[in-house]
């Protein structure tokens, strides 16, 4: 096996993290609006969360996310969280798999998702990862997606 093939094979084992820079999310832009885009081939998404980076998020408004149009939670929840908290998405929509906001250290995958037999991750092909909020948030959120590429051309890019 040549060096090129070796590097390609090893590169698929690299855990990738796509980071969307901090933003105050406004309903005019995210009803829904795209956070990330999957391009080039399938990816295996292992985690999706937001970090509250500037101030208390106390708007009282809800958020929900889809990957290629598929819900990543059972329903939207109020995203209120303290500074530096993690808001964790369950990545699937079986009853009990809810978004967990307002925790400074947050299991990934969520405990509810694991109870629902979701332990590996979510495969998805090219498409969008979209956020829907029902009002203007007040803090700055930084979104992260943790994933593995299934193809050397696969990637998740910030939308």
């Amino acid at each position: 096996m040549g060096l090129g093939t070796t590097v390609k094979r090893i590169s698929l084992d690299v855990m990738e993290v796509a980071i969307r820079p901090g933003e105050i999310y406004l309903s005019a832009d995210y009803a829904p609006g795209n956070l990330f885009t999957i391009v080039g081939g399938p990816v295996w998404i292992k985690g999706l969360f937001a970090h509250v980076t500037v101030a208390l998020e106390n708007s009282g408004f809800t958020g929900a996310i889809t990957v290629c149009g598929v819900a990543m939670q059972t329903g939207a929840v109020v995203l209120n969280s303290s500074l530096n908290d993690i808001i964790m998405w369950p990545l699937e929509a079986t009853a009990g798999s809810v978004i967990i906001p307002n925790v400074a250290a947050n299991p990934m995958p969520t405990l509810g998702a694991v109870v629902n037999n979701f332990i590996g991750g979510q495969l998805a092909g090219p498409g969008n990862i979209a956020l829907t909020i029902n009002g203007n948030l007040v803090s700055t959120l930084v979104f992260y997606v943790v994933y593995y590429r299934m193809d050397p051309n696969s990637e998740i890019v910030v939308a």
Binding site: D13, T94, N117, L123, A124
Partner: protein, 158 residues
């Protein structure tokens, strides 16, 4: 420990992905799509990505996959119609159905985990596909995600 040994040990920790290039699959009895060679592998996932709409014409295409002769699904013909960019994931365990036609699809499948299957270890042999009822209309690409259990282990496209 020498460099050669170090590389061998590290290489076993590398998650491997082997992709079978996209193609249309005609009706066929079980035939190899991948071959396990050189030693055992720990298969963590097996799925196809629909490069085109697969069986969107109501042809009722079914698939059955076996790993070294052991069913990796319910062992009964399962309809696999899937929209373009959709994914069909195999459970890797006998008696559990594959999940087709979802744009974002858990791997391992929720039903596989409910059946306590987190992966499948197999030695040299073929991963075979049987296509029934109708040929696929569009092309799909099969992917197999695995770890080698031996420096010589490998899964190759047939």
């Amino acid at each position: 420990m020498g460099l050669s040994n170090t590389i061998k040990r590290i290489s076993l920790d590398v998650m491997e992905v082997v992709k079978r290039p996209p193609q249309v699959y005609p009706i066929a009895a079980a035939a190899p799509i991948f071959t396990i060679a050189g030693g055992p592998v720990w298969i963590k996932g097996l799925f196809f990505f629909a490069d085109e709409a697969v069986d969107d014409a109501g042809g009722g295409t079914t698939m059955i996959i076996q790993i070294c002769g052991v069913p990796a699904d319910s062992a009964a013909p399962t309809a696999i119609a899937t929209v373009i960019n959709g994914i069909c994931v195999w459970p890797l365990i006998t008696g559990v159905v594959p999940i087709p036609n979802v744009l974002a699809n858990p791997m391992p499948t929720l039903l596989a985990v409910a059946a306590s299957c987190f992966g499948q270890v197999a030695g040299p042999g073929d991963i075979t596909l049987a296509v029934g009822a109708a040929s696929t209309v569009g092309m799909c690409s099969f992917y197999c995600v695995y770890y080698r259990m031996n420096p010589n282990s490998n899964i190759e496209v047939v």
